[in-house]
Symmetry: D2
Subunit: 366 residues, 4 copies
Amino acid sequence: MSTWGNQVKISIFGESHGPAIGCVLEGLPAGETIDFEAVLQQMARRAPGQDRASTPRKESDTPKVLSGLLNNVTTGAPLCAVIANTNQHSADYRKLLSVPRPGHADYPAWVKYHGFNDIRGGGHFSGRLTAPLVFAGAVCRQILSRRGIIIGAHAFSIGTIKDMPFAKVKITNEILSSLSREYFPVLDAEKKASMYHEIEQARNELNSIGGVVECACIGVPTGFGGEGMFGGVESIFSSILFGIPACKGVEFGAGFSAAKLHGSENNDAYYYDETGHVKTRTNHAGGILGGITTGMPILFRCAFKPTPSIAQEQQSVDLTRHENTTLSVCGRHDPCIVPRAIPVVESAAALALMNLPGILCCTAEV
Amino acid sequence: MSTWGNQVKISIFGESHGPAIGCVLEGLPAGETIDFEAVLQQMARRAPGQDRASTPRKESDTPKVLSGLLNNVTTGAPLCAVIANTNQHSADYRKLLSVPRPGHADYPAWVKYHGFNDIRGGGHFSGRLTAPLVFAGAVCRQILSRRGIIIGAHAFSIGTIKDMPFAKVKITNEILSSLSREYFPVLDAEKKASMYHEIEQARNELNSIGGVVECACIGVPTGFGGEGMFGGVESIFSSILFGIPACKGVEFGAGFSAAKLHGSENNDAYYYDETGHVKTRTNHAGGILGGITTGMPILFRCAFKPTPSIAQEQQSVDLTRHENTTLSVCGRHDPCIVPRAIPVVESAAALALMNLPGILCCTAEV
Amino acid sequence: MSTWGNQVKISIFGESHGPAIGCVLEGLPAGETIDFEAVLQQMARRAPGQDRASTPRKESDTPKVLSGLLNNVTTGAPLCAVIANTNQHSADYRKLLSVPRPGHADYPAWVKYHGFNDIRGGGHFSGRLTAPLVFAGAVCRQILSRRGIIIGAHAFSIGTIKDMPFAKVKITNEILSSLSREYFPVLDAEKKASMYHEIEQARNELNSIGGVVECACIGVPTGFGGEGMFGGVESIFSSILFGIPACKGVEFGAGFSAAKLHGSENNDAYYYDETGHVKTRTNHAGGILGGITTGMPILFRCAFKPTPSIAQEQQSVDLTRHENTTLSVCGRHDPCIVPRAIPVVESAAALALMNLPGILCCTAEV
Amino acid sequence: MSTWGNQVKISIFGESHGPAIGCVLEGLPAGETIDFEAVLQQMARRAPGQDRASTPRKESDTPKVLSGLLNNVTTGAPLCAVIANTNQHSADYRKLLSVPRPGHADYPAWVKYHGFNDIRGGGHFSGRLTAPLVFAGAVCRQILSRRGIIIGAHAFSIGTIKDMPFAKVKITNEILSSLSREYFPVLDAEKKASMYHEIEQARNELNSIGGVVECACIGVPTGFGGEGMFGGVESIFSSILFGIPACKGVEFGAGFSAAKLHGSENNDAYYYDETGHVKTRTNHAGGILGGITTGMPILFRCAFKPTPSIAQEQQSVDLTRHENTTLSVCGRHDPCIVPRAIPVVESAAALALMNLPGILCCTAEV
């Protein structure tokens, strides 16, 4: 569904070339002041055209709030925000999509919607639909941070170039806040040039490149999530993370690497820290055991495939003529979506956290 | 929640040392004949004590159906099946868990449930709770197979030993059916000895080892799933897969490897096959684009961490005395859960498929 | 929640004096042509200021569709429609509501939202929020009518004045279509003058009057609804009907009258009609047995309390001063909401019908 | 669905003549002591064969708890309880139901389930399925009463004989507790003989009679429920109440009578009581305004149709021979279900209350 969540629901609507896109956020507590500048700052991190790594297109993403806020304070009613599409065309070009682009939803959507879906600019499948998700996430993370929960992500890898992982860092509010202010944040500043190089090389070859985003959430108390077998934190997070276009893998803590480890290596040893709290010396569990938060940072990674839109010639089929053909995808596209996906992943994490049962009523404002 | 699904709901109940475990399956179509022998065969694949790779404990997993079946035909009412626990102890040993086992849910569950959860044998977190999931999956896969949808999985890797991947195989009904009849199935029979060796070595060192399960679903028509941004096939599958205890990563198609690829490599080229159907030459998408099925095999992998129960001494804390301590986990435990997890993954896949909107009313019986 | 439905979800947002109100409709089939004029006609039936029975305020309810429609054809993506509030005030008058109006949500909402809800014009509780519900219903009923399902309602009673009930009429498409074109429709035209008189008298006495809306849905095939004990047609309908402001009772078929009957009177006798279909001679069941549609018209009634806003002096409390006080509700209000509630009830019925599992894929277009 | 609820879910399974019926209750807080004797007492109130008003059949309804309880204390895991059917027949009589009983689900269920549903004793539609609902309600009301919330109901009317309504009584814990200990409770003891007489007369005429149950819930604090337009208390309550077999109408407070009132009569005047709490002088709202609890007693009524099983000859159809026919329903049936429905209504209310968001974490134990 385009709606996700149980306690705090998000409903995302819009098509790339329709009049507008937006979201409805339901279940927010009343009385929360929203810093609109901070929201716009998060949306700017996702906006296209920021540097060499992204597409030079201009996009005006200023959201208009239609409900749920009064003088920047939540009213408890559903918050609807709308972002106008400035690139909508009055012309009607509902022609049958004849040649589906490889790696895009074109072909299965054509079958599913019998050709009636709006294919202009990807329609409802467009990456542009992540703009309202970032809006919603920016609102939610303000509410969470007031309760001591901080989220930050970085480019874990671009192609084969790897940043320093969170596992090697003492994760603090400062580090996460710093990451989540930046466009294309990394933990090891020296890796950024290589990453940019990887992306530029792909661009120059009319190609694209994939990558991995790593995200951390700190301040989540022990004992949240894990309502039964299917209500674990991993289930909640993954179900929204896989909603991000191009995400093809999600892992928590050591994740797929854990599958190569022995129990003696992977188990996280408990100890009492100097303040008398139970901690683990390592965090291969990514802050989650039995689906329940352990109080350690929640750590996860999302794998993003390379942008499917590439100018190189590709093999496809002509669905009208029923024959094989080729196509090149024109237009300007990000050769790597990872930099812009980072705030999207953080936003999805914020929504996931807002849906851990009891998280709002059981965490005090700080 | 312990309940999962929208069209076909599964609700799992029970604790390891309580009177019984079981499940309720709701939303099954009426009039489906269930081959009970085939169900028991699937449950036997998950049962412990089958070979060197698993624990030698005996477990009687014969389910008793309380409702929803009449003469082995579904009635359309909820199907409840119960599996008695033969190892329940009459003695009351609700003593406060004092030393949580690393890698288990003990500590966060103790915080969450204030010490009231049944800790005997892992309680509701026990891997034994996957037995009713396999029961339910075995019922569902019969209904799916009648509509041409076949599921099979294999041990993709045990520690560092890798089987041949599905990507290198032409996946047929025969291969999948053969895999899903076996205990500890692999695609390349020659790898099995090394895998067993890896497991035995872990056992001998009082240790355990992780691994990856790879699963394929074929026969799913093009155009299913992807109801909006958050209703994609990956979201549906991952939310149940992460409910399997010890699963810490899920990836579809090329998954995390796709993050290292270029678009020209990762995009799957379309072509018309000899029967006039649209196919892709590769299947890096794992049969899913934009969250919608492409008609190609649905391919995914689940990473399982090494069994946390190991006899080696580990560091932990005494929650009663508030001090650091050590413990060794006694008893007989599987040094690797992958072999027994395979039918569990297949079962979760069956339930996920049953929850693709319209899958039952839009796929004809074959 | 402000979101309702499973197959076809409606999410309603907005506050009476905020920038706009609207809805998101998710799960509509793709390829459905929407007659926008017919939608506006339904919205006009609900709009205020149409005659003596309603308030003379002017309200511009023209909805703007932001997504989900392309050339008036559904795309399968969520359909968002927005209705601007023209009466919004720039001034900030978030003063604490001090004297709650009896019969309104003021007091419990003040407790629930800690004074942060937007109280201007009733905020999210305003009857104006039924405008997007009528929009959504108007869209849905077009899709339903294409499958032979027709909905119509009438003023069953205003105060003590009763219209002819559906039970005394042979309900046809023509009758229902005629009712659902009109403002303030009745079955027995002669009763309308008395009803108007009842309303006018209440208005003249600075008072208000309640009433009952009766609704019929025909063309729903036998065998829909009733997915288990809690998925009956009555449960689905009542859960949305009670969402209509001021609705305090819902009954199906003979309803509360059935409680006075004997089984021999209340049971509906079966017979084969001339076309070989199973029918019942009476329809005390309101077209529903065991929560499942019988193929007979679905019949139900909603009781609406009198408009709580009355100009007579009423006893209340001053929540700031903690003392008893009195108030009179100024402004122009409908002395009876039944006439304008009729299209709202029909719309809720349309949404309820769209959520009977399988209703769209199992009913052919006619 | 057979599953209901969001915070606390109930899943009901079983068929009248299958091996067993039962329920799974999910989302209960851990650490709640359950008085099993009190649970059995509630179930006894619903059991058949208690007096002249009910059927003389014997039914052994002792539930067996399979999970979720350890030493009578909730563990936080799903609580499954099973009630064996002692009247199950080994013989297979799946013959096609040929003559549907008027007023029962037989005919629409036959269409819906294509003849595969278990028709013996009503199958999943049997009133016997309310036994696990009463079990669940009995568990929930203990948890609620520990937080000061008390529920009680009475026979508001049998046929045309009316008991004193709650509106005329000062509702106290004592009154409700007394009602909810009794079989066939009334507020005005003098009315009971007339009610019995009404029922006996129906029995003697081989007929049945309907009635209304009125229920009150006190101790629910102000400000609960009403999460958006469709999350009102009335929507939550009605959706489970209409799941009770034979319930055809639900009204809150003045309900359908409010439709005959003027605003000046129906509005409940506020005042400060001697303890400084806001109260209303009347309670026509039934403790609910804008879908939110007002702090006054929640009051509602459910209309029950007369038992459809009557020994008088009735007109029906033979679905096999496609011709009109007659039938008499043999066997012993309650001529009035109201007395036994009372604890069922209370139980549904308990489940509804458990699903008001925040009710458990925001109400302290008393």
